[in-house]
Each structure stands twice: as C-alpha cells, then as structure tokens.
Symmetry: C2
Subunit: 325 residues, 2 copies
C-alpha cells in the first residue's frame, strides 16, 4: 500500500514541475517548524542553483519579498495547521500566484485551506522515522530535487528515508546512557548555549528555543559555530555550559574549532559528535544531510532527560495555548 503522504508528495512535485523556471523557493514557518525546514534550505542551496530563503512566517508576510510571484514556490509547515502567521504567509504565497506546499500533522486545517498542496506526516511514539515530519520532508525534498535536477543521488536520498528508523534507533540506544548523565550534571543550570552550524543549525536553534526555553524554562541561546569566535566566545568561563553539535559535513572544521576552544575554558562542554553515529546504512555522500535527523534524536533525549531530572514535564506551558496573545 502506498502511504498517503507519498501521493501528496507526488502531487506537489508534479505541480512544481509545471513551473517553467522556479525563480525562488521560500521556506516559511514558526519556531520548531521553521527549524524543521532549515535543513531543506541547506540541502537545496548545495544541490541546485535555484535560490532558497528561510524566513519566520510573519517576517515573510510583512517583508513582502520582491521576487515572490507566479514562478515561486512557498513551502510552509505547521503541526496543527493552525499557526496564524504560517497560514497567513501561505495564503500570501497563494495570492501571489506561487505554488504553495504545506506540511502538517492535522487534517482539514486552515493551513490546508491556504495551501494548494498539503503533505501530511504522522506523529506520536512508535511512528516510523520515515513517516514523521522530517522523514516526510526529506522524501519530499529529494523528490523535489530529482524533479528539477534529476540525479541518482536524490533517488538514493528517498530510499535512505525508508530505512532511516534503524539508524535513528541505534543512535537513540547509543546515547541514552550519555544523555542521562549529561542532564543529571546540567539540571540546575540557569542557562545553556547550543552551538552548531550547517545542516544542524535548525536542530540547535529548536533545542534552545523549543526544548529549553519553551518546554523547560531554561534560558538558552543558539550560537553558530563560526560566529562563536566573533563575539559570543568572550562569555566562555569555567562554569558556562555549551552543547556543541559536531557535524560530519564540510562545516565540521567550524564545529570542532568551537568545541576545542570552549573546552579550554569551560568545564561544561558536551559534544554531540556525529562522527560517533552509526551511519553504516546511509551512503557516505548523504550522511551530512541525514546526520541532523539523528542529532535531533539526541537533542530530544536531552530534553526528556531534563524533564525527568527536573520534574518539569515537556507538556507544561504557562502561556502557550493558555492565553490570548
């Protein structure tokens, strides 16, 4: 049986194929969904010449980019399909004559009304990685690339998603004792910085903004590995905690440099080293792209570890969904 999202992806890609020459791809969303689209920005910018921009949804709407028009593609995401800024941005794309493609978990949402094409992903414990948001986004991403610039690498990309669960599961098992230890050590920290670059930027950003600030009320900030040396590194001290993602991509040199420096002066540097991941099921030329999904499993374990250690459930909110704002 073909999964529903595969048919939805096929429809969306068919629509993209009809654009004679795509002038711009806009990736627009909010918070965790914005972070979730970031890897597509990274991959597209490396694989095709078509320009791609990642933007907070309302920044996109208010900025009103000049290039937005009938040759543009607007890709958005909202888990509930109800995030007003994302619905608005998607509608803006549709109104401008762009091809609009939305990712959502919920069915029959306002986002679905605003978008020409909606791709639904699955959610919840036990869901296979290929059916979760990132798996579905990657299947779409590689199908999209293969449509606009055919390459067997992209076909392998789609195939890799299918067997992704195994790799995610291995990383989860491998890092379970490690992250349990880390979160025990870090549980009383009032502030934690997340350092990363390249394809991991979205994960590190959402770790800081969603897992820590939103779901644990821990002060946090995302620092780009390269940018660390141009300001932020001056706050490094023996007791300042950094969680550094070390990529397996070409940007690893930045991540390693940041981790190495941080470790000279801070006693609290924790490294998510993707070179330690078992990626034997992923072709070498695709490991950089897929590594962030595995890193995401580790970030989630850290968040779950904090929730357990701090008795602060990841479901607790004081403002979100509780107030009008």
């Amino acid at each position: 049986m073909v999964e529903a999202h595969k048919v939805e992806i096929e429809d969306a890609v068919e629509a993209v194929k009809k654009i004679e020459k795509i002038n711009h791809i806009y990736l627009v969303a909010c918070g965790g969904s914005l972070a979730f689209l970031q890897p597509l920005e990274y991959i597209f910018s490396k694989e095709i010449e078509t320009p791609v921009s990642l933007m907070p949804a309302r920044e996109f709407s208010t900025r009103d980019p000049k290039a937005l028009g009938s040759n543009s593609v607007v890709i958005s995401c909202s888990h509930s399909g109800s995030t007003p800024e994302t619905v608005e941005a998607t509608q803006k794309g549709t109104d401008a004559g762009a091809t609009t493609i939305a990712f959502a978990f919920a069915e029959d949402s306002n986002l679905e009304k605003a978008a020409q094409h909606t791709i639904h992903y699955s959610w919840g414990k036990g869901t296979d990685a290929s059916d979760l948001n990132t798996g579905v986004a990657y299947t779409f991403g590689f199908e999209f690339l293969n449509a606009v610039s055919p390459n067997e690498k992209f076909v392998r990309g789609v195939e890799t998603v299918e067997r992704l669960e195994k790799s995610v599961d291995k990383v989860r098992k491998q890092f379970a004792p490690t992250t349990a230890e880390w979160t025990k050590e870090l549980k009383r920290e009032p502030l934690i910085y997340a350092i990363a670059s390249g394809v991991n930027s979205g994960q590190a950003y959402s770790f800081a903004a969603c897992w820590l600030q939103e779901m644990q009320w821990i002060n946090a900030g995302y620092i780009h590995s390269g940018e660390y040396f141009h300001g932020p590194f001056e706050i490094t001290d023996y007791d300042v905690p950094f969680i550094v993602a070390k990529s397996v991509g070409p940007n690893r040199i930045m991540d390693e440099r940041a981790a190495k420096f941080a470790k000279r002066f801070s006693e609290k540097v924790y490294e998510i080293d993707e070179a330690e991941f078992d990626m034997s099921d992923i072709d070498e030329d695709l490991q950089d792209y897929f590594s962030q999904i595995l890193a995401g499993a580790v970030y989630r374990q850290i968040a779950e570890g904090f929730a357990y250690q701090r008795g602060h459930s990841l479901d607790v909110r004081r403002y979100m969904w509780k107030l009008e704002y």
Copy 2:
C-alpha cells in the same frame, strides 16, 4: 572634493553593471560585520528580484553554494581586513569568477588582496555618519540598486546618507538620559534578551553577540520578534529583561506584539521605539531602511552606559586578539 569611498563605490558598481544578469548576491562576514550587512539583505530582498543570501563567512565557504559562479556578486566586510574566514570566503568568490566587493576600514589588507573591489569606510569618534561603515554601505547599496533597477527612490537614498549625521545626532541626544537610566537599572543583570525583526535584526544580533556577550561578558541572546511566541516567550517572567526594538516598517506589528506580551509578565521591558525618532530629514518611504542606523546609535549608548556603570571598558577582552584560536 569627492571622497575616496565614492570613487571606490563607483568602480564596484561599474563592475556589477557588466554582469549580464546577476544570479545571486552573497553577503558574507563574521560577527559585527555580518550584522552590519544584514540590512542590505533586507533592503535588496524588498527592492529587487535578484536573490540575496546572508551567511557567516565560513558557512559560505564550507557550504559551497551551488549558485556561486561568474554571475554572482559576493559582498563581504571586515573592519581590519584580516578576519581569516572573511578573507577566505571573499577569495572563494573571486576564484569562482564572481564579482567580489569588500568593505574595510584598514588599508592594504588581506581582504583587499582577495577582493576585486574594496570600499574603505572611515572610523572613530567625530566621523560623519555618511563616512562610517553603515553610511558607506548604504551609499553603495542604493547606488547598486539604482544601477540594476533605476529608481529615483534609490537616488534619494544616496542623498539621505549625506545628511544622516543630523538625524543620528538628534537620536543620540534624545536617548542619552533614557539609556543612562536603563543601564543603571540593568547593570547587575546576568542575562538580557534583545528582541527585533526586519531591518533591525542585525543591530539586535550584534547588540547581543558583540556589545553584551563580547564587550560586557553579559549573557545574551537575540530573539526574532515573530519567533518569540513560538518558544522563547515561555521564559518570560517578572525578572527577565528584554530590550525590544520597535520598527517603523511593516514588521512593526510583530515587534509591538512581542513588546506588549513581554510587558504583561516582565517588569523589565525596555523599548527602543523608532516611532519616537525624529526622522523629519528622511523621506517617509526610506524611514524603515534608515531607522536601524539610528537604533544602532541607541544600542551603542546602552553598551557605553553598561561599560560606565559596570566599570568594564568596551575595550577589555579575555580571548579575542589575545590568544591563538
């Protein structure tokens, strides 16, 4: 007498004119210089269809964007002209056959060797705003726009830079007592968040990363006004300080919403409201673009206020320029 940078700008713009169709503009730098280029990304994306990307310098080099080639323009900046990552990124552009244009204060730097065109700005107390980095970048930016898409608005943009000093001076005088008060109140804070969006994003980013983290060793983070509601706002509490820039551009709705919410739950919200700036010397359709330069004067006053209140000179560093890293 025509200032040197005007001749340099003219040369650079002439070179850009020779490109039949620019396929992509890359803005690459590090830290404060990256932040300084951000407004150009904002303005270009609103005024022309040519794609423009802002990227940390080494992210650009290691990412190796597919679109980079002989029809690209790479614009970089390094005050000293010696930042290795920026020199490397500029050289990468030159090697790829792109038109490379660098901003620098220093003469005869490595950056100047790597770039085909270098535009030198002035620096130091008493320098007219039109000759400082941002004034020169705006003169270049509007000349660039006028070359690729002639419009009297861009001519007025260049003219506005000429008389900018007066507006900056007025804002400086207006906010001096305010920022003195703010920094007295905030001087013992261990952590301060900077919220902004649109054309102010670069200023708020460099306020957090350079003025606070680097030059005051105060923990800090930049939060996009729209993103605030999708994670970060959950850390809002009565004692969490936020400095919010409220734009005069179309994104003001985001800034106002963030400031309004923050004020409901935090007693420490400080607003840089650009609607309070005297911008009578700036045409209305250009005020959004120029407002960030005025906001920058306020951010700088806050930094100077902290330096005074905390006895921590803005020139003190523990790592930068002191160690090999």
